[in-house]
Symmetry: C2
Subunit: 235 residues, 2 copies
DNA sequence: CGCTCTGTTGAGCGCCTTCAAGCTTAGTGG
DNA sequence: CCACTAAGCTTGAAGGCGCTCAACAGAGCG
């Protein structure tokens, strides 16, 4: 059973009123009086790749807003293998399940250095009771998670290795238009696509030979979008 | 592209105050004054197997509470093949996405004769604004959907055909303890497990030969729970 | 230099897919 | 009542794809 480190650097107490990405985050619709209801400090943390926000099964004290970086949500199978069920980027929320009194459903592991806001459960619950403005945002977050989960199943767990990989590249490229796609190792790649890591490696090698992607640095890829879409459509 | 019928029999206007499964449904926590806020009729429908509650991409006017029966949520791949992403039973809600202004994400098809309450979007939104009691229930429903989606991925889309099928039987058996498990054809079975229908058929045949399940009637199975759990654990 | 960790590549095998034929059952019309 | 049909299920055979085991290369680090 994997065990991830859980260290984090404290960046300060978040000042939500002046949040730089306020239109993206959970508290984006709050008005001035609402902020008075926040009576616990909201910590802002910087977390290194490899560290975990939380572990599956722990009793959830907080949810987390991802301000930057990349986080994977992992589930473990009885035999110890792991499956990545979702990726979280800027604006996403991890640990929504604590709002319905459940322990964490996944282990949340940082893949690319991340800044997160740690929102104590009590704060969100209090706000949720007092101001309806938060509800719409919360539902939006539930929806996004659910949508991504369904999408993950049909797009990344269906069809041949070639197609799954092509679809993954297209998805990641769409998330950060104009930027190269950054992955985090062949092992994780396999865990996302439901493939062995050797198969993931081989398929990437094949894509590189075919010119569908170029690995400019280790785990950094420039993609040929149209060509990848063709792979998704091929016989 | 599959096309499902969408006929339904009108059973009457739901009387939520006296709902027989009130502790299960979305409106379970409402108090007497809340019901005054429901100003549109809530239809109660009976729907035959094969008919659809709604189709993917349609603009959602309503969500649906399943009162009885079984409903599958289906997504279609570009090549026309379909993937079942979730099953809904008594107490579950279909079409939550309309609450965040999205068109339906799936096609919802009845597998076993179902009774459903059709909740106009406006009703739920109105109630959601006025009474916080609905919020907890709504979040609970979002959570259940998300939990099932994640579970579906790790349990039913990972590992060999034998293990997937064993896990499916265990899941369905857990949903209706004491009752035999009812499936709805080998084609759907494949679509749930991410397998071809021939493989689904073969694997079921193998299970029957091994005594893991007994098909007492077409598509009705009595399961040997412990033996199926052993399959899930085997090398 | 040796160690570890990650990624690559090879070889063999087993499972699943695909194509195809035959079977059962139910429905239809003679 | 029985042919005929159609749909769903089963089963066979062949082939390919991905898994597994394994060896090896390169990078980073002590």
């Amino acid at each position: 059973m994997h065990r991830y480190r859980t260290d984090a650097a404290w960046l300060g107490t978040a000042r939500c009123r002046n949040c730089a990405i306020r239109d993206l985050v959970l508290f984006g619709d709050l008005r001035d009086p609402d902020f008075g209801l926040i009576q616990l400090p909201i910590d802002e943390l910087r977390i290194e790749p490899g560290a975990a926000l939380y572990h599956v099964g722990e009793d959830g004290g907080s949810l987390y807003t991802i301000r930057s970086g990349l986080v994977k949500l992992v589930q473990f199978l009885p035999d110890g293998t792991q499956r990545i069920v979702r990726l979280l980027r800027c604006g996403a929320v991890a640990g929504l399940e604590v709002l319905v009194g459940r322990p964490y459903e996944h282990t949340a592991v940082v893949l690319q250095e991340a800044e997160v806001c740690q929102l104590p459960r009590a704060v969100v619950e209090r706000l949720s009771k007092e101001t309806p403005r938060l509800h719409a945002r919360l539902m939006e977050r539930w929806y996004q998670s659910l949508h991504q989960a369904d999408d993950w199943l049909t797009a990344l767990s269906t069809g041949s290795a070639r197609r799954r990989l092509a679809r993954l590249f297209l998805k990641l490229a769409a998330d950060c238009p104009g930027e190269p796609v950054r992955l985090s190792g062949r092992e994780d790649l396999g865990a996302m696509l439901g493939l062995g890591m050797e198969t993931a490696s081989r398929t990437i090698a094949e894509f590189k030979r075919a010119g569908l992607v170029r690995e400019t640095m280790p785990n950094v890829f420039v993609c040929d979008g149209p060509a990848l879409e063709a792979v998704d459509r091929e016989g």
